[in-house]
Symmetry: C4
Subunit: 254 residues, 4 copies
């Protein structure tokens, strides 16, 4: 079996499309963001990628049918002054370092063939505390890109993330740069404890400004509030238990 | 050494055989089921598969002789209106994701060459509680297959198994579908704590209806009762120990 | 770099040599045994094997010089009625399952080219208790070999080792059998806690009978007694400490 | 994607250069040492190595730009009687044994093409205690090299390091020797708890004598004192806490 198999569903003709990656990761920020875009812009799937670098399993749909785990590529033909888009999302990231390299390399090759000129990788930046108003960190392939993104609200923190950017969001930029493609990683602040639609929303607000597309982000806010409710209920339960425990402790002396 | 080596023992001429997989897995349900079929239908082994994706070891027989770990392929020529069958079982599943993919891919290629039109993968569905009357869950490659199997008693639970189907039982369906083969995974409910002949029996009852073969399943029921006895003796021992422990605890205060 | 590199030092002309493997393993029984043979029979090294399947490191000699970890092949030209011998030992076994398969496959190919007709793999059989008079278990590639070895004192226990024979001692037999070579694994009983020269001695006593070679095994017995002393001193220390602990416990009540 | 990709920035013409490796490792001694040399000698980068054997990530600079993790090769053209130099450093060592072998093999090939005649690998020798005046251990590819280095102050301890030399510092010597290159590993004693500029300094003092280059090592001493301060502050904190704890303990009886 070939290490990586593309199943092409369509051959889109695009004009210097922007490429946007949103695979699973910290807080699932990148995946939530691109799934929202795919839905809002009614994007069209044009390719599936299967690979032995992905987990050896099928996913089961609500209807009880299965499909091999995969990466999916979508495109969007812009109307008017907007930019053509290509999006990557999927069930999993590559399992091994070698798999990560080969998958990202195959993706860079595909988007280069489609004429892409700029890479956006989307992800979460875990801060290990609850975040109510997430800012969006950036890291760029080319220092000259920085000021343009700072004007749009992207924050650059000296040397952050200090441990680098791991996985597809890092590799697509690094391998893309070796092939002459510019790019930026947009990282929404997130606790890292839960999936984080609010962080995804913050990332999309900035991305939307750049690509000149109006998106309705209210459904992400609705999901964020649902998660707020769940987390505050968990918090209450923990506090209630703790005060129970304290009562129990006192009994020994009571 | 080649990654995968087939040792062909026979070249069966079959008519659109059904392919059935039963490798080791949860509760060993799939393997117990197909071993019973091989025995009942006096099936003939026609191929052995050796591979560096299997553990680096030999098995030792009761008589003290060794054989390299392997996968075994059997066939059954139907009499009358029945269907020709091909069965896969073996000592182990592939050790790595890449190994799982390559082994399943090689198997799909083999059964396609044999003219197989439909894949059955058999396994256990772990529910982490004792099950006295196991139902059989299904997941299909094609939504249109579902109603036919529901009529035969297969249960479809919305989005279950929620973590997908992992290993050969998933991959053979997923990779088979990419090659145009339809299939179903039949999963017998099982605690997941023990090998489970009763769950294997439940799977075979449904499978037997589909393939039009009468099998005597009583020996599986005998083995199931033996395991019932072992588990209730273990349970009694645990309870006896616990009540001993409680007595011990009381002595401190006695 | 090639996955496996042979560095040939000599081209021995041998007559149906017996091949004997003694790589590191349980109790280091196999390696101790073959190192003793190499020393006693003044065997000649004729090949070194280097491989990326071995650990990425060099060994440091007492004199402060380094050599890349490797497998070493030795030969012995028999005088009179004895049998020519080829021996494999080395610093480590392969690190991964795939590495184990490829290394054993390369070795089988080498010894077939040398005309070998029979494989002896030597190892330890861990019994997790101290053993003063180790017996030697056997497992054969061909049931017909069994009685001949039983006559020489090899013990065959029904289905043992129940978990199979793992690593080079298993694979060389399994892969060798696929290439038409007969073989036996000789496993000296050993606690598994220490290196075990006494178990190595037991294995060599039986092997010596088969290959018709007289070897002085007294130095192995000397090393065994040194280890006996160390283990009984450790045992005494533990017991002394335990009785100290008991005194300490009593002080709380004293 | 190729397993290893060299990006050549320059084609240096060198005369039997000495090759010096300083990748990350115990106490980061080797990397600190070569970074100091690169800085002091104003060495010129002539090659970058990218590989799927390195971690799948980018590093982020203080300015917020990213680069794929890599190995860097520098050269130095000697003036007068000195020796030409080639240095290897990088962000990480290879992640897997196979990766380590392939990376070191590619490096040996590169430096052979450049005419290198001698390999120096630099690292730390962890002694699990604080070291104020680190000595420098050596291990050589060829026993004849030993006395020359002993005269320069390198220490050879019988059979040390007893577990061998692991990673690039070992493999470059081992693989280099197979290709006819001589070499030495210089290991500065270090606690192994912290990065250790003082150990790097000790290594450079000896290396400087051999290569006939005067280097100002005072900045390494400055960094060493900064780390001394940090470690003594940590030590004081621990002791203060311990005495607090003891007071707390006493309260139970107070």
């Amino acid at each position: 079996m070939d290490d990586i198999v593309f199943k092409m569903l369509d051959t889109p003709q695009l004009k210097e499309p922007l490429f946007i990656e949103g695979l699973p990761g910290v807080g699932n920020v990148g995946k939530l963001a691109v799934e929202h875009m795919i839905d809002q812009l009614k994007m069209v799937k044009f390719a599936e990628l299967y690979s032995k670098y992905l987990p050896p399993q099928v996913m089961v749909t609500d209807e009880g049918s299965v499909h091999l785990v995969r990466h999916d590529f979508y495109y969007h033909k812009a109307e008017g002054t907007g930019r053509d888009l290509v999006i990557l999302t999927g069930d999993f990231q590559g399992l091994t370092p070698e798999g990560q390299y080969n998958l990202s390399h195959a993706t860079v090759k595909l988007i280069k063939d489609l004429g892409a000129s700029m890479i956006f990788t989307l992800g979460g930046f875990g801060v290990i505390r609850m975040v109510s108003e997430p800012s969006v960190l950036g890291a760029v392939t080319d220092p000259e890109l920085r000021s343009k993104f700072e004007e749009m609200g992207v924050v650059f923190k000296r040397g952050e993330p200090s441990s680098g950017i791991i996985g597809a969001s890092g590799l697509l930029l690094g391998l893309g740069a070796l092939e002459g493609l510019q790019g930026i990683c947009l990282m929404g602040e997130t606790s890292g404890y839960f999936v984080d639609p609010r962080s995804a929303r913050a990332v999309l607000e900035i991305l939307g400004r750049f690509i000149g597309v109006e998106m309705d982000l209210s459904s992400l806010e609705v999901r964020a509030r649902q998660i707020d409710e769940i987390t505050s209920r968990i918090k209450e339960d923990i506090e209630a238990n703790e005060s129970e425990d304290r009562k129990d402790d006192l009994r020994y002396f009571g």
